[in-house]
């Protein structure tokens, strides 16, 4: 026993260093990720939380205002307009986008379709198209006087629609732009999920007399539930952080009647146009809480295993 105690007794600085290194080595090796995450992830997040308690214009020293930015935000009708628009766009774009992505992915996963690689590339192209080009294309397509969409409507004797300036139509234009741009992205996620479903299940279903629709609803949809849930959550986060499309189509102020103002553009406008960084940070935190709550709700509603 005494010999053992002697063996464990500290043996000078090299022993201590050696012991320290044995503990620290694994962490040292995994530290680059955590250091980068700390510098570019955690610090900005913590910084934004602290900034949200200040009235700070970015240049002169900020004055501490406590929760005042949050109080003003929760009384700001503009915030509720942006939130309403965001929820509208979320409900209008995410369910059809997920459904379309699943349908397209199922079709493109079928061995009956030729040139699958080409179609997959074509569907994915809008995702990698420059947003400036997207903005230009949509501005031209939806131009009131000279746009292709209104010209098509005129063929059927329908009056022109002010897609980009009429508050009643602006959100629909935004939803269409989002569907065009992001369905291909969701389709790739769905495709990855579909390729993990064993083909034997479909063969067995066919032998049992199931048609393509029955196979889709009885095999594909239930087995794809985790992927669909993942896609729904990712799309929800994306929609609540939406910025580029409404900015390009309607500008940072959200256009006519602020019908194109979403939480992302409201945040940008306050932070980088009005230089109200404290208020902008408060918007970011409230939106983050909303996203968290919605994601939890989706997980709760959709997270059960298929029967």
């Amino acid at each position: 026993m005494a010999a053992l105690e002697r063996a464990y007794r500290p043996k000078g600085i090299s022993y201590r260093l050696d012991r320290w290194w044995r503990v620290a080595a694994p962490y040292t090796f995994i530290s680059p990720f955590y250091l980068i995450f700390l510098a570019f992830g955690l610090l900005p997040i913590a910084f934004s939380l602290i900034v949200s308690l200040y009235d700070w214009n970015g240049i002169t020293p900020g004055g501490f205002v406590g929760l005042d930015n949050y109080r003003v935000l929760l009384q700001d009708p503009e915030f509720y307009t942006a939130l309403f628009n965001t929820v509208y766009v979320w409900l209008g774009s995410v369910p059809p986008m997920v459904l379309l992505a699943l349908v397209f992915a199922s079709i493109l996963n079928s061995s009956l379709v030729r040139f699958r690689g080409l179609f997959r590339t074509v569907y994915f192209l809008p995702v990698v198209t420059s947003l400036v080009i997207t903005g230009l294309i949509f501005s031209q397509l939806f131009s009131t006087s000279f746009g292709l969409v209104n010209s098509a409507l005129a063929v059927f004797g329908l009056p022109p629609i002010n897609w980009l300036s009429d508050p009643a139509w602006m959100k629909l234009t935004l939803i269409l732009a989002l569907l065009w741009r992001w369905t291909g992205n969701d389709m790739v996620i769905m495709l990855a999920g579909l390729q993990n479903i064993p083909g034997e299940l479909y063969e067995a279903a066919r032998v049992d007399g199931a048609g393509p629709l029955q196979s889709f609803f009885r095999i594909t949809v239930p087995l794809m539930r985790p992927v669909i849930l993942f896609d729904l959550i990712i799309s929800t986060i994306g929609t609540f952080n939406l910025f580029a499309e409404p900015y390009v189509l309607f500008g940072p102020d959200g256009g006519m009647d602020e019908a194109g103002l979403v939480t992302g553009t409201l945040l940008y406008q306050n932070s980088f146009v009005y230089f109200k960084f404290g208020y902008g940070a408060a918007i970011a935190w409230v939106v983050a809480l909303i996203i968290f709550a919605l994601s939890m709700l989706q997980l709760k509603l959709g997270g059960r295993e298929p029967d």
Partner: protein, 459 residues
Amino acid sequence: MRSDVFQGSERPARSGHALTRRRFLRLCALAGLGIASGTPLAACGSNAGVANKTSSGKGKSSAGGTLIVWGFQGTFEGIQSQIPKFEQRHPGVKASIKQFGYDDVHTNLLNAIVAGSGAPDLCAIDVTRLTQYVQGLADQNAHRQKYERQFVPPTVELASYKGKFYGLATDSEPMGFFYRRDLWDKYGTNPESIRTWDDLATAGDEVQRASGGKVNLYAMTANETSLYEVLAAEQGFGGYYFDDTDTKVIVDDPKIVEAVKVLKRLWDGRSVYRNPNGGYAGDEMTALLKRSKVASQIVAPGWYPETLKQSMPEQAGKWRMMRAPAVSTGGPRVGYQYPTIFVIPQQSSRQDLAWDLEVLGLTGAGARVLFDKYDILPAYQPLLNELMSKPDKYFGGQMTYRLWNEIAHDAPKVFFGTGFVQAQQIMGNHLQQVLTGKKTPEEGMQEAAQEMRAKLKKG
């Protein structure tokens, strides 16, 4: 991390001083928290010295190196043309231009000022944004007197705030009214008879009838504030949304309400094309003018002729320009928008050199290069004086530069106070409500004033 990293007898003994994984992680977490909580607080106060730094016109100067200039299209070209001359004058010093988009210049300058480094030596900014940056900019007041007479009023005044002067303007932006002479003649509208906005609305009814509804006399966008600002200037409010002390909101003043009623009358006119996408300078408006669907550009600033000339060269000789109509008979017919100015950030270690390059680029040959390239109305008075005697072929030989000069000189004391950009946004929202009939002008302006007072913390 599993604990089997330590095996057998190598497992360290647990004692108060021994370094365990838990203790190591706790130390790291504490260090992280220390950094996380300390840095933002320090950052919030990191510019505490900015406001206190004094930088007069006799700014910092250090020899050698490269002078960095940031600008957006239509601002930096005069400076760029003078770089060889500048480098010859200052051996060993180089100058380099970095071109950004309009929004990016403003965001990047802010980021650089916030970060405390990375700002250029010279930067183009919209004069409406000046008050947002002044704490990070060098005061050039020592130079003001020398250049005051060389630059068109009110550009020097607009580049000043609270007794300090921040830079020279690249252009001047009085507001004019543009119309197609041929279409006006065809549908019986006499420009001489359009003295007030009400005259214009009335004339629109006649154009609508005479053209069988095919041509609109003018176009308006409900939430665009350009036209409102002209009317505010005509009513004597050079701050458009604020009084001349920049402390009070004035949009519920009876004179402003009167101006908004005039806007409503224009909006309700039979010959108005409503809400072209992108507003008066957007693609749809340009297409409407090009296809002769709209016969006038109701208000546009000094750079607008270039848009006409580039987009509609085939309409050369058909266009004319006049002063914007007045709110009431015999009233002022003026308006002024937002020139670009070149400012010198306090971070610049070569402020004297930067000023020298600014002067070279925005006066004399530099100003001429910018004008020749973009036909933008110059702020440099000697160049404008020269142009005033030249007829403009695109406008049927009209002396447009003389007219621009007169409008600029007649403009009231224009200034763009703190929160100007946000005030524009608030006004746009309420104007739209008024024009589309959801609110009366009185209600709309009262609510706009309340929102501005609350959000901009003014009286």
